[in-house]
Amino acid sequence: MDRQKTIGTMSDADLAQVLSQVRAGDNDAWGELYRQYAPAIFRFCRRLLPAREDAEDATTEIFMKVRQKLGTYDSSRPFTAWLYKVASNHCWDTLRRRRIRQDLETGDLDTLPLEHPDPSQLERLQAEHTSKEVRTGLARLPDRARMALVLRYYAEMSYDEIADTLGVRRAFVGVLLLRARHQLRDALSGSGNENFQKANAGGAR
């Protein structure tokens, strides 16, 4: 997976130098780091949190945390992975505080359809909806389903990272992703609106 397409354009060497300067207290380096990564983190938050203002606040708070925790960053790992980890934890905490989650792993497992989806229907769905519509549909998903899709297909997180962030077993991540895809298909096609709203009302609170 290539995270660079959603975040920063700095080379590894430049990034390492900027990070060491930030650690040494260089304000200009901090500004450079922020300018490189803040837009992507804002977009990430924008896809997870309900309002634009929430995403703005969250971006600021995430970078404050980043600055505080930079000493704990292990430079042998990709910086973007660590950054997304901090951001996703922050957003997930925010959502948890706002909502009382009641969905259980087993409940999700039971609801997975066994039949093959109709590939032609899937293709039609993809052709008929713009990116903006997809993101609108995404915003209507339960928190955990939305988190799973964004972590995987925007932040390009591994299954282990997603499991760690969402506090689920690794084996459950695939189930979560597939179920989220189904919910998104329902949201976009409108066919499963009733069930979907039920899941939203119960699962997302």
Binding site: D57, H116, P117, P119, S131, R135, G174
Partner: protein
């Protein structure tokens, strides 16, 4: 394959695409794909869907706000924290200047020579004698500070109910420890208990009975919980009484502390008297060597009190000898013809005091008459409202910072107004009754008293959560602590304003107390009960 029809299912297809299958399983799927058009088609559709999702999520068709583009300055504190700090300081100041300092000054003027009001109330009496070593307010404050720091350090764990239960348990245990039960003679009357004349209990005596008669002597403290209590013997320690009617006819070498409906003192009490009772009667034969602190509906003081008198109630009558200052806050004060007050008399009340011409007063009384209910024309009234707001804000801030998750959970529970008000009404009235019933046993006392304390804190804190909810309604739900503080401040301001309305204010107060308490109960319930599965 995972399915009986020879094809693999969608889950297997997704895991295969995402490289999550083990090598054996993956090669099995690969082999199947070579011969199965349906599965190949499915896999292709899933793969395309993945690409489609990535494109939809990564496309940049929304501008980046200016606040995100500009890097935050180094060390720049969030505005919410600055506001919180300022408001917190204001709250602390108003709390101190409005409540603590005047209380201390009043206690000092009433002659509490052993220390201050807190010390006198909590650490000197028989009930708290285990805390004798910790007499000063400074020590208490130091402990409170340490406790706050500990809670702050454990704040993440505190968000888990088990930790809350642990802390609550520790608090209950801490309250249990000081009780001097171990070295006491415990008696349970069925239904009555009598200590016969001529007998002497060498240790403390604890009595729980329907009717208690103490004709013999008690060498230590007498702790009695009974409907009718009569003490004719000599008590060499303190008397701590809970009951309907308490009558003390024998000498007491220590203090008398009582919570009851009627108390009559006919004998000599060597130290202090502190009573909360509907009716208090100090007979002409009675003498009190120390001070008297009385909260009552009707009090008649005909005996002799050497120290200062601090009293509050509806009607207070004095016809005895008061050795020092007398401070009374009541609706009416009658000073009879045989009364003698050797110190300064201060009276704050609804009606002018009636002072008999035969009464001997060392100096002219200082009298302030006050109107019942709020006086909207006085600046002090509005200043008090600011102080109340400050106190509420300070507590809300403390809860928000120590347990933000729990605070937000309660705020969310406020949205369910119907169930919250229903549960709140139930718990608001049922909890004190249950606590008093629990207190009816000596063993239950250690549970009942913390329960009452928690109840009092909950009732007071209830309006804070409603204020947070109200603030969210008005200015929206921004993320983080900063906006939450702003919501809290605004909500409290509005609730305080509503509370000031004549007639409507108390109704709003009751509704808010029920609503907030119900939300607290609902949030606690959700924390305790396991989450339920959701149907898709």
């Amino acid at each position: 394959m995972n399915r009986s029809d020879g094809h693999f299912d969608e889950m297997t297809g997704l895991l295969y695409l995402e490289g999550q299958l083990d090598a054996g399983h993956a090669s099995e799927v690969s082999a199947h794909l070579g011969s199965c058009a349906a599965c190949s088609e499915l896999l292709h559709a899933l793969e395309t869907e993945g690409v489609w999702l990535r494109e939809a999520l990564t496309v940049d068709d929304e501008s980046i706000p200016a606040s995100v583009v500009a890097a935050p300055e180094r060390g720049a504190a969030h505005w919410g924290w600055i506001a919180a700090f300022g408001l917190g300081l204001g709250g602390a100041y108003t709390l101190w200047s409005g409540f603590v300092e005047p209380s201390l000054a009043q206690a000092s003027s009433a002659g509490f020579t052993q220390g201050n009001l807190l010390t006198t109330l909590f650490f000197t009496g028989a009930f708290w004698k285990g805390w004798d070593a910790m007499r000063s307010l400074m020590e208490f404050m130091a402990m409170a500070t340490l406790g706050t720091v500990a809670i702050w350090l454990l704040r993440k764990q505190l968000q888990r109910f088990t930790a809350i239960a642990f802390v609550a348990g520790a608090l209950a245990s801490a309250l249990m420890i000081p009780q001097p039960v171990a070295a006491a003679d415990m008696e349970r009357g069925d239904p009555a208990y009598t200590l016969p004349a001529g007998q002497e209990v060498k240790t403390d005596l604890i009595v729980v009975a329907n009717r208690a008669q103490i004709d013999g002597d008690v060498d230590g403290d007498l702790i009695v919980m009974s409907q009718y209590v009569t003490v004719n013997g000599h008590v060499k320690g303190d008397i701590l009484g809970f009951g309907q009617e308490i009558r003390v006819n024998g000498p007491v070498d220590g203090n008398v502390r009582a919570w009851c409906q009627t108390i009559t003192l006919n004998s000599a009490v060597a130290k202090n008297v502190m009573v909360w009772s509907q009716v208090v009667e100090l007979d002409t034969k009675a003498t009190v060597g120390g001070t008297a602190t009385i909260g009552t509906q009707v009090a008649q003081l005909n005996g002799q009190i050497e120290g200062d008198v601090l009293g509050g109630g509806q009607v207070v009558g004095i016809d005895g000898t008061m050795g020092h200052d007398v401070t009374i806050r009541a609706d009416r004060l009658n000073i009879g013809p045989t009364a003698e007050i050797k110190g300064q008399t201060k009276y704050v009340g609804g009606k002018a005091p009636e002072i008999s011409s035969g009464a001997k007063l060392a100096s002219p009384p200082i009298v302030s008459t006050v109107k019942r209910g709020p006086d909207y024309s006085q600046g002090a009234y509005y200043w008090h409202q600011v102080m109340f707001w400050g106190a509420s804000f300070l507590l809300g801030l403390a809860i928000l910072l120590v347990a933000p998750g729990f605070f937000f959970d309660i705020e969310q529970a406020c949205k369910k107004m119907g169930p919250a008000v229903g549960f709140g009404a139930l718990f608001l009235f049922a909890t004190p009754i249950a606590a008093i019933i629990i207190c009816a046993t000596i063993v239950g006392l250690s549970v009942g008293i913390p329960l009452l304390l928690l109840y009092a804190i909950s009732v007071y804190a209830a309006h804070i959560f409603i204020a947070a909810w109200l603030g969210e309604k008005l200015i929206g739900a921004g993320v983080g602590v900063g906006p939450a503080i702003a919501r809290l401040a605004l909500g409290l301001l509005i609730l305080r304003g509503l509370g000031m309305l004549p007639y409507l204010g108390p109704v709003v107060g009751l509704l808010v107390a029920m609503w907030g308490m119900g939300a607290l109960v609902l949030a606690l319930h959700r924390k305790i009960s396991p989450p339920s599965a959701v149907a898709a």
